[in-house]
Amino acid sequence: MRLKGKKVIAIGERDGVPGPAIAECVRSAGSETVLVTTQCYV
């Protein structure tokens, strides 16, 4: 997956990988996160 230069919506899961953690990863790959949320359905 080529993320450099792309815009990303990061939807994380509380008991999986939270949104901010996904955002950090994709930021380090050179992309811009436009929306970050974490879901918790429990």
Partner: protein
């Protein structure tokens, strides 16, 4: 000033299939499509089915959590023949729950028809209202009907004509939390012989907002529960930390006792009506019954010295604000940091109680196996620290973790359903160290993006 010990635990599951329609998700979906009610009601379980459901038997202590490993999934297809009462818990019927709902009400908000109230044997002394009055309240005041199947048995009135905080659905949620909390606490006193008047303080750890339009989250449901359970010498407060509340509450109960401030503190969390039927769509789609039909409640009595595992205030894990939200950062803060203080390895803890949501409930809805995810994350940290190899991860999960068995009710599955088991096993010398680890989804309130977490060790030795 003594050591804080867990003196007693009582877990309640109040079967409430006729309240599923008032859970947050079902009520919103029913408002869009009222015809859905038939689809839901035909998949509701009976009380005997709820009693025979293996995860419920674990919740009340008749089965150990790891017994579920030998029962094929989905567990609802493998009923077990065990009693509705266990060594530290009970599955109570909807009728008994409705009775407690009425007892919990001091403002004439709950009206049960006279004919129905007369039928209730437990609890005793439940007063009834003429049927015509109940029907008029529903028709003219917008009271919320209470059903047993197709039979209208009562209603819950709004608490105020204009205040949305005191609307009937919110009051029903709060009364359900109060009633189930008081049920759990009363059964704790009855089953142990502990005098309710010996309790000094109650810490509420539920997530309902108790208040009115000027103070929506005012709180202190703990004191209301204590009043209903006969704790006339106690006061209390609610500790609000989303799902993490119970572990925060246990730590502060222990701290109060160790400091000599109080001698007996109750930690009490009632059931979450808002979460009934939360995943009903997934269950119906997969041909399952509506599994989220019980209100869970946990009562824990923390005392000074005496029999019971010690709450180790020297081994508390926190999730500091600056700690970061990756799963690794969270588990490092909550588990590795407190253990490193004592030179303990992750593998030195016999059992971890993490998030204990029943996977029968979560998997059909696409939310995976929450306990398994959490135990794998913990095991991955043990791999990173060189304590186990990657290949040993599944065995680590089996040895130090457990299958989930709790209703999906926020604070209820957050480590504390295992405390009753831990107490028995530690007292029997079968376990030595158990760590309770809970997380809280603070971001849900839109005030912060932070996660929260808290952990504490309980042990059988000094």
């Amino acid at each position: 000033m003594g050591r804080p010990v867990i003196r007693a635990v009582f877990n309640i599951l109040a079967h409430a299939p006729d309240l599923v329609r008032y859970g947050s998700k079902p009520s919103r979906e029913l408002a869009k499509d009222p015809a859905l009610l038939a689809a839901i009601t035909e998949r509701l379980r009976t009380y005997p089915e709820a009693v025979a459901y293996p995860p419920h038997q674990v919740f009340i202590g008749n089965l150990r959590p790891w017994a579920l490993e030998t029962i094929p999934r989905p567990w609802h297809e493998h009923a077990v023949s065990l009693a509705g009462a266990g060594p530290f818990g009970e599955i109570v019927s909807e009728a008994e729950f409705y009775g407690w709902l009425k007892l919990a009400d001091g403002f004439d908000l709950v009206a049960l028809k006279e004919s129905y109230a007369r039928e209730l044997t437990r609890p005793a002394g439940v007063s009834g209202t003429p049927a015509a009055t109940v029907e008029a309240l529903i028709e003219k005041e917008g009271a919320l009907p209470l059903w047993v199947g197709e039979r209208l048995v009562g209603c819950v009135r709004p608490g105020h004509e204009e205040d949305p905080t005191l609307a009937a659905p919110s009051l029903l949620e709060n009364l359900a939390a109060k009633a189930t909390g008081a049920l759990a606490l009363s059964r704790l006193f009855q089953s142990t012989g502990v005098d309710p008047t010996s309790v000094d303080y109650l810490i509420g750890c539920g997530e309902e907002a108790v208040g009115d339009r000027y103070q929506r989250g005012g709180g202190n449901l703990a004191k209301a529960i204590g009043e209903l359970a006969g704790c006339s010498n106690a006061t209390g407060a609610d500790l609000k930390a989303f799902c993490c509340s119970p572990v925060h509450a246990l730590v502060f109960a222990a701290a109060a006792i160790q400091a000599g401030l109080f001698r007996q503190v109750v930690v009490i969390g009632g059931g979450s009506l808002a979460k009934l039927g939360m995943k009903f769509r997934g269950h119906l789609a997969k041909g399952l019954p509506v599994l989220e039909d019980v209100l869970g409640a946990v009562a824990i009595l923390v005392g000074e010295d005496g029999d019971g595992p010690v709450i180790r205030l020297d081994t508390v894990g926190r999730h500091p604000i600056g700690a970061g939200s990756s799963p690794q950062a969270i588990v490092e803060a909550l588990v590795a940091t407190p253990l490193d203080r004592h030179g303990l390895k992750i593998t030195d803890i016999d059992r971890y109680a993490l998030e204990l949501h029943n996977p029968d409930i979560t998997e059909p809805a696409g939310n995976g196996d929450v306990p398994l995810n959490n135990y794998r994350t913990l095991g991955a940290l043990a791999v990173l620290r060189g304590e186990i190899t990657r290949e040993e991860l599944p065995e680590f999960v089996k040895r130090h973790g457990m299958p989930g068995f709790s209703p999906t009710q926020g604070h209820i599955p957050a480590a504390v359903p295992f405390v009753g088991h831990a107490r028995e096993l530690i007292e029997a010398g079968e376990l030595r160290r158990v760590m309770l680890v809970a997380k809280g989804s603070l971001f849900l309130g839109r005030m912060t993006n932070l996660m929260d977490g808290m952990s504490v060790l309980i042990t059988g030795d000094a």
